[in-house]
Amino acid sequence: MRFRVSRPVALLLLLLLVVLAFGASLALGSRWLGADAVLKALVEPSGSDADVIVRDLRLPRTVVAVLIGTCLGIAGALMQGHTRNALAEPGIFGVSSGAALAVVLGLQLGLADSIRTTVWFALVGALAATFGVQRLATRGSGSTPVGLALTGAAVAALLGAFTSAIVLLDADTLDSYRFWAVGSVAGRGLDVVVQVLPFAVVGLLLAVVNARDLDLLALGDDVAAGLGLSIRRARFVGLLAIGLLTAAGVAACGPIGFLGLLAGHVARRLFGARNSWLIPAAGLTGAAALILADLVGRLVGGAGEVQAGVVLGLVGAPLFVLVVRRRAVAL
């Protein structure tokens, strides 16, 4: 059975999915609420239990999930486009590892003790790692796709090693780090959104600008240059966007793996290789995926919760495999 819908319709359907997921995330949890209770809590709250649950507990984390899911989904799609590597992902690129190392250093030095302070360490680490990888990979005659991906993997492992060295020497740091490293939207309030929002917005704008350039780059560097594209600038803008988006995501929720990989592939399967469609689609896919992952973790966890990062890993893997098996591997 094959449906053929035009791309605008498909994009609207994806948007509808995000809206539905958003609603479900407000309504469902350890206590199930009806649509009328949710609406009442949003529009005219009276301070009842249901209102508190919706407004203070579920709404903030759902908003965080929408924003961060969008960021990480788009970051993944951009990365796959720029590296021409189907494996490209913030995790593989070393960006998440840079953020993790910075956070651990912050914890160890006693400078980062709450999510509010952790945010800034993650931002600095993610941006530093993105540009470190970029600089390392563009020595010589410019960044080849394979070189970029390999460099990212090497940097990720190196930073990961330093992180585990610090964590292993100090049990307190390990104790804080493990809760951050699992990747979750639980307990993230709107203050976190406010702190990462500027980074996210600039990153998203740059991604939109970069989408057209990516389409030209896909024709090959020579053709793109012949059509008047500054390859160096296009790559720089792409890198900056990836760094900002991932930094926002990692800072707010910890290193949530898989989202970029998953969203990039799902969007590519649904919308093809045109980046002006692919990138918004990857953002919406990422948002829906993160909301649903958080929701599932809340529903299956019983008394405790299974963190969204864990759910994404466990539920996302089969889906990802399905995508990989159905389409040709080479980008």
Partner: protein
């Protein structure tokens, strides 16, 4: 079929040099520690002599650790060489195809769930449970990856890597979750294991890896000719009489068991499988990683790294702490790889 494989003298000399260097590093490793022994005493003990106390330190305390390091290095490096050749992908290593992640997830499950909260787990679970879980987990993950990568009866190299990443991500999130639900001391123990450590190894760690190397290294070497052909591409290889799919599956199994056994012995030590084949291939000026040279380089790499891990922080006067060996292999392996990539790009 004793087909002539042109073995270059350069490759043989390199393999011998790495082997000698690895043995030398192992001897140094046997001599340093809280009680420092003269090298002559160590050699005397190895030849069957020496005082009782010296024999105890060398043979009972240090030897199992050093032997585990040598063997694990061989196993990881060989596994990486096979996987990189099979997939024609320099990124391919046991961590990518799911061995390390599957083994880690299974071992951490045992450490956290069997943990008593004191950082100690009961004898049987520790002695047999962790290694057994690691091997089974590694095999299971790679089997899943292998089965999912088969399409129309053919194992697709690119697909193996891609699906491996998916399975690894699933396993890693399981590990992250286990670390969160576990007691902090158990989590610490698991984190140390995850970093790759040779601390407190006994013969029960070294022997299984040794058996795996003893059986699988010769098997891998018999496939040398097929690998030579596979480098030229699947079509060329099959026209030369190589049963591409069968060889690939056989060597995938060999590589998996090697890496799983090594992970069971010492945890997922980073970068040995990724970097040793690359360095060996470069130094040998070959089209693919030469197996024997890579194996010996792996042994040297891990032994020297452990020597640094044990004594590095003390020499730097940071403290009496020991680092896990995996931290050191990454600290040296990653910059080398980065530099290698840079040089290749300049050559283009």
């Amino acid at each position: 079929m004793t087909a002539a494989v042109a073995i270059k003298p350069r490759t043989v000399v390199l393999a011998a040099a790495f082997a000698i260097a690895a043995v030398a590093a192992a001897l140094v490793s046997l001599s340093v520690g809280t009680t420092r022994l003269p090298l002559a005493d160590v050699v005397e003990v190895l030849l069957g002599g020496g005082r009782h106390g010296t024999r105890l330190v060398v043979l009972e305390l240090r030897m199992p650790r050093v032997a585990t390091g040598l063997l694990v290095g061989i196993a990881f490096a060989l596994s990486g060489a096979l996987l990189q050749t099979l997939s024609r992908n320099a990124l391919a290593s046991p961590d990518i195809v799911g061995v390390n992640s599957g083994a880690s997830a299974a071992a951490v499950t045992v450490i956290v769930l069997a943990g008593t909260g004191g950082g100690n787990i009961s004898g049987v679970a520790a002695k047999i449970g962790i290694p057994l879980a690691a091997v089974l987990g590694g095999l299971l993950a790679t089997t899943i990856v292998g089965l999912l990568s088969i399409q129309r009866g053919v194992v697709d190299a690119g697909r193996v890597v891609l699906i491996g990443v998916g399975i690894a991500a699933a396993a890693n999130s399981l590990v992250a979750w286990l670390l969160v639900i576990g007691d902090v001391t158990d989590a610490g123990r698991a984190a140390a294991w995850l970093a790759g450590s040779l601390n407190a190894r006994t013969w029960s760690d070294a022997v299984p890896v040794g058996l795996a190397v003893l059986v699988l290294l010769p098997i891998a070497l018999t496939f040398n000719r097929s690998l030579e052909a596979l480098v030229l591409g699947d079509d060329v290889a099959s026209s030369l009489g190589v049963r591409v799919s069968r060889v690939r599956i056989a060597l995938l199994v060999v590589a998996t068991v090697l890496a799983a056994m090594a992970t069971a012995g010492a945890g997922p030590i980073a970068f040995v499988a990724l970097v040793a084949p690359q360095i060996a291939q470069r130094l040998a000026r070959a089209e693919r990683p030469p197996l024997m040279t890579t194996a010996m380089l792996g042994a040297l790499f891990v032994t020297v790294a452990d020597l640094i891990a044990r004594n590095g922080l003390e020499l730097l006067r940071v403290g009496p702490y020991e680092l896990p060996v995996g931290v050191v292999t990454a600290a040296f392996g990653a910059p080398y790889l980065i530099q290698l990539i840079g040089r290749q790009q300049k050559e283009r």
